[in-house]
Symmetry: C2
Subunit: 333 residues, 2 copies
Amino acid sequence: LASDFSEDDLIATLFAPIAGAAGLGLLDDAALIDVPDGMQLVATKDAVVAGVHFFASDAPADIARKALRVNISDLAAKGADPLGFLLAILLPPDIDMRWLQSFAQALGEDARAFNCPLLGGDTVHTDGPLSLSITALGSAPRGRMARRTGAKAGDLIYVSGTIGDAALGLRVRAAAEADLPWIELLSDEARAHLLRRYLVPEPRLGLAHAVRSLAHGAMDVSDGMAGDLAKMLRVSRVAGRVDMARIPHSPAVLEAINIEPALRDVALTGGDDYEILCTVALQNAGQFEHAAQTAGIPVARIGAVTPGPSSLPQFFESDGKVRTFAKGSYSHF
Amino acid sequence: LASDFSEDDLIATLFAPIAGAAGLGLLDDAALIDVPDGMQLVATKDAVVAGVHFFASDAPADIARKALRVNISDLAAKGADPLGFLLAILLPPDIDMRWLQSFAQALGEDARAFNCPLLGGDTVHTDGPLSLSITALGSAPRGRMARRTGAKAGDLIYVSGTIGDAALGLRVRAAAEADLPWIELLSDEARAHLLRRYLVPEPRLGLAHAVRSLAHGAMDVSDGMAGDLAKMLRVSRVAGRVDMARIPHSPAVLEAINIEPALRDVALTGGDDYEILCTVALQNAGQFEHAAQTAGIPVARIGAVTPGPSSLPQFFESDGKVRTFAKGSYSHF
């Protein structure tokens, strides 16, 4: 069991090998990081807890990837380049070394893949649930970090990837308890896709430079697209409208909605998409779409920002009906 | 109960008012921090968990102060100036708004006192113990952060403040369960002093500039002085000797040792001192002592670094006997 090993042992065997140079071999009390002159530091912190954000029985590799990726997703949506991350792990007594080895290996793979090295952290044994708290650090040229507050009337609203996969994937993951008929009717392929998107999000780091150069307002979609858009418009003091037919859904989500139409609302208000939602001035739209294409990340133009005062975004159905989602946000809290 | 409030409510009412400008009103997904040109970022992360690092029944203000101060202590020992901190809170269901208000108020007071503003974070409800994970960010001139690995043969070994108060204070705090006779024999004043030092450490930020300018090796004493010194000497590949009569103890610790001599070892190997342990070249000793005096922080010259190969430091008793502390370190883990 991991409790048989000292914190120093765990650091030396599992974490020091995956640490970046700025982590000083994890031998010091702090990491020492160069923020290049002319750049500002972008810092974000997300904690994930067993039973809240993931299932304790999820594979350790998936837990590691999700914990890091939800933080990298925040950096990407701010237009920041990763500098590295710090990790606090609260370990319950039943975690064994094999679990920790899988966890550390996946964490190291993702750290390399996203160029976001481990820099430091803390390990504590507790009787509580497995909890991971990550602080991700990034940099952006001075004055260029994309803000939630930056959306402007006349901007086009873009979202990356597809929306709703993870919200339905969560229901697939929890199906053993819930036993929902639509899940039985899904194709195996669709079921696997939704589950995968829930377990391991794909941070859109390839869009970061386009976002910081071209977007006015930006955030990642983590608590449901309808609610997150409402948040961005509110703090930007503007309104907006969305063409629902333009919201990008995967074939798996479309298959699920076809079986059970009520799932469309789940897809729009459920959490864990980790896509980028941003607004771009009309004259920059072509350049933004081109940059996304070059990065190999699909983006969809789903609507437009309209003048304030701020109000809930209006979602237009293809038949012209208008909807708003008052409680459009999924809260982990 | 806090669970009746959304995360957005808690942020808006409790945390946004104590946030610094770089926290962007806690309305965005990330903080945006200026690291002045020519400075490097110093980042440290310590988690504190109820039942491990503090008692769930401790006053919320003390819990807040300790969580922040143990991180600021790391910045101080590295010679860094605070830039701010990010906080993840895992809240158990029985925490109420009054508790959180006291917590946030004390956190805000300390953030101001140490010039270390709240920049962002995450709040999660769990069924586990109250847990706080803080990442503290600081800055130091390029190449000047004090390292654990920097101790050099011939250096003098210094420690700030007094050693062992918190280790005995922990026993006072836990006395209800342990019922130790020496605690009954202590004066009320000594008991209160030890308890206070355990509950609310005093980070030695006033020494940070002297440390980064004048110290070769430096760390904060968090896991017991004997063990922490051994760690610093090992990673610096040197040895050392300590004159035990020079180790600074408070009147309260001396009173306790007088009642129960075995407590001297507890004082030297117990945790939670949060003093600065550093090594300074002989020719800089006068300047270092002067800087400490100017800062109003007592420092004691307790020994000297000797040439490698690294080995456990030798502790000389006043009668000339030599001791080493093989398990000289208290581990929270």
